[in-house]
Amino acid sequence: MTKDSIITLPNPHLRQKSQRVGIITDSIRDIIKDMESATIDWDKSRDHEVGVALAAVQIDRLYRIIIVRKDYNDKQNHDFTIFINPEIVKTDGTPSEDFEGCLSVPNIYGKVARYPKVKVKARNLLGKEFRVTAEGFLARVFQHEIDHCNGVLFIDRIKDQTEAFFELDEHGKLQPLNYEKDIKANHILW
């Protein structure tokens, strides 16, 4: 599967809730393979960005499945960890802002407040339940992806914040966007 199977705004499916996975069938395993290959293919087309994680809704399959890159500092590493029916069972600390970007929201980066530590419960490919505790950037990744399963995008979390929106310019630098013009009045986003 290629990067073209990744849906982007204004596709309304991105604002829909995904359904829980029951039995892990071959078709579920195929969805996961497609998610992986779409992320890697997207990654190859980007010189200045890396695809860190993806939710199934982003390839237009509305199941509660997310995949997270095992080593997102190394673009050569194409391994993912799979989380089926992921849930945040505990959060810790005070939310803090940092940059976030999404494969389904072209060009925009936003400063989003997220908890610094979360505990996630999910099932693996064999259907076995497991839990992980994530901190820092990885905690942010889980909050972003589990939001996808609930039809929430990172821009929805900051939609009234006039100074939270940025874009990557042609020199690879993050530049603040004009909130009224580029964000509020942008019908692709809302």
Binding site: D47, N73, G172, L174
Partner: protein
């Protein structure tokens, strides 16, 4: 979710550069390595060339600053940031201008202290209590650019140059892995070097390695540690040429260069105090302790 992850161009030629490149390639995509070519007289593979080949990174070579400029005539890097470590070729203004985020030099001292080559040896030689790594955005002057990070480590009074170099390579990599992404996201702003009087180091010469016994023992003891990698600390005692590898200082006074021979220990008077030799390498032999040396060479020293 996606995140900013930029490729970099790496400029580096020496052995320290090779070690840094290996570490760096784990955390960053290296688009190309710019390094000196292998000279025909050099039999062993050049460390950076060897590392880049192993890591399967594209290699571009230049002997001189002029050749380096020419390289960039027909090469347009995708990277908007470069890192330079232990390179040995000045990088021109024109090349610097090609990188919107600049060329970051990981310099192994607390700038503005020890600008120039060999900052590590000079920090030990002058008995500095601390040293560290500075990440500097190079400009066309020698080590005068703004910094994006600086981190210090304590210099122990027994550390040798090879040990300190290893520590600084690790620190340098930690700093780059941590600070570069923050710099790309605009969370780290460049700042001028601290407003202190700069000091300058220089490239060491082979002749720096000859011990001058008129120096105070404290200087020679530091020299033995600072020059342990190269050019080492050479002297001739009696009829034996040797290299000192570990020494310590004892109070005392005598004619500089005069040997103090005891049962199991060996010392030499210096301009001030007495330098006791703990370990040494006699010409053509392996490193040994002073007492082992005395067993075989005592007569030669008289």
């Amino acid at each position: 979710m996606k995140k900013i992850s930029k490729p970099i161009i790496f400029f580096g030629s020496g052995p320290v550069a090779a070690k840094c490149l290996r570490l760096l390639s784990k955390d960053f995509k290296v688009e190309a390595v710019i390094t000196k070519p292998q000279p025909s007289y050099h039999k062993k593979p050049y460390p950076v060339l060897e590392a880049a080949e192993e890591l399967r990174l594209p290699i571009l070579t230049a002997r001189t600053s002029v050749e380096q400029d020419k390289l960039f005539n027909d090469f347009t890097p995708k990277s908007d940031t470069a890192v330079v470590i232990d390179h040995g070729i000045m990088i021109s203004k024109d090349i610097i201008a090609r990188f919107p985020f600049g060329i970051i030099n990981s310099h192994f001292s607390l700038l503005p202290r020890w600008r120039g080559a060999d900052p590590i040896s000079f920090a030990i030689l002058s008995g500095d209590a601390q040293t560290g790594v500075s990440l500097m955005i190079i400009n066309d002057k020698l080590d005068e650019g703004d910094l994006i990070a600086q981190r210090e480590i304590v210099l122990s009074s027994t550390v040798t140059e090879p040990d300190l170099t290893r520590q600084l390579i690790t620190l340098s990599h930690q700093l780059l892995a941590e600070v570069l992404p923050r710099y790309w996201e605009g969370k780290v702003q460049p700042f001028p070097q601290p407003d202190k009087a700069p000091t300058y180091s220089r490239k060491l010469k082979k002749s720096d390695g000859m011990i001058d016994w008129h120096q105070p023992a404290i200087n020679i003891e530091r020299q033995v540690r600072a020059f342990l990698g190269w050019p080492k600390s050479h002297t001739r005692l009696g009829r034996v040429d040797l290299i000192l590898t570990a020494t310590h200082i004892v109070a005392g006074s005598g004619t500089p260069g005069e040997i103090v021979l005891r049962d199991r220990s060996l010392g030499v008077y210096c301009g001030q105090d007495l330098l006791m030799i703990d370990r040494l390498i006699p010409a053509g032999k392996k490193e040994m302790k002073a007492d082992a040396f005395l067993n075989g060479y005592r007569k030669e020293l008289a």
